[in-house]
Amino acid sequence: MEELNLFIKSIFIDNMIFAYFLGMCSFLAVSKNVKTAFGLGIAVTFMLVVTVPINYMLNKYVLQEGALQWLSPALAGVDLSFLGLILFIAVIASATQLVEMAVEKFSPSLYASLGIFLPLIAVNCAILGAALFMQQRDFPSAWTATVYGAGSGIGWLLAIVGIAAIREKIAYSDIPKPLRGVGIAFIITGLMGIAFMSFLGIKLG
């Protein structure tokens, strides 16, 4: 139940885009049509599911104060948490590389459609952001962290598909010239964010 609660919460309430503005750059750049937006959303979700638990393990067994105790009791006082950023980004960058190679080998058609977005995911703030929030919230187990990663990814996917659909339709409307393109995309995202805020306070069980 706890996990389900966290899952729903990370999709709707703590939505990566509407609550924390993470991954905005690719969100704005790739949201011009629904199909590519969906592909990128899937890729981001997948990366979150893979990297959040890995980073959780790293944080718990290597970085935290006293985390190295399982190696030898002499290391109980070692606190490596300042190295967090560099290790997390290394995990994310190498995982991206691995996923890219795997996708290229096993599903060339998916690779062709995602091609250019895959390397970009390494610098998608949503992925590093999820790792840092995971560190801050101190989840009880790797499973909870995975659920959190999946929820955040699906929230991001929903948001990007939603705005891509709106932008496809809005191409036909008469927007003031200076506002066309990015300007209106920002304002739509803001309005969607206000809509998403109506989920605040949802609690299951």
Partner: protein, 207 residues
Amino acid sequence: MLSKKNKEALFNPLSKDNPVLVQILGICSSLAVTASLEPAIVMGISVICVLAFSNVIISFLRKTVPTNIRIIVQLVVVAALVIIVQQVLIAYNYDVSKKLSVFIGLIITNCILMGRLEAFAMHNSPWPSFLDGIGNGLGYTIILVIVAFFRELLGSGTLFGFHVIPQWCYDHGYMDNGLMILPPMALITLGCIIWIHRARNKDLQEN
């Protein structure tokens, strides 16, 4: 020292080629820290430091780094600089570093950094790269400060934490607009800034 090209590298990003308004880089972290002015300015200064020095370092390395591993190299350089900034902030300004929480760490994936490193520092010598870093950092900071100014003024009636809206306004029924503090309004404020900016610079408009 300041030839024409260098001047362009320094001053163009302030408005004509602003990283946030025109290049649409660095939106990710820029909006979450703008609910009030103080964190916005600290964030801006941190980004200026990291951007200027990573530009210089990458520019020194640009001929020795093989092309296919350059992203990793760039990330490592940036991450190292960000860790330094983070530790300095924790040591000297703990309250603000608490307020910024994960967003200092997210400077690593701030698209301004990767964008400028790829687009400028990989092809230019250290001194222009340094100026480009300062210029883009300043352009980013200006936008942060403008957005934070309106959000703090309208949202809580304060600037830098001091009340600036006089009491008699409240007595006559003025109320702080709590909506401005909430995240979505940052996007709408920025949308309006882009609107004004593009209305003044007609060549930036899209069709």
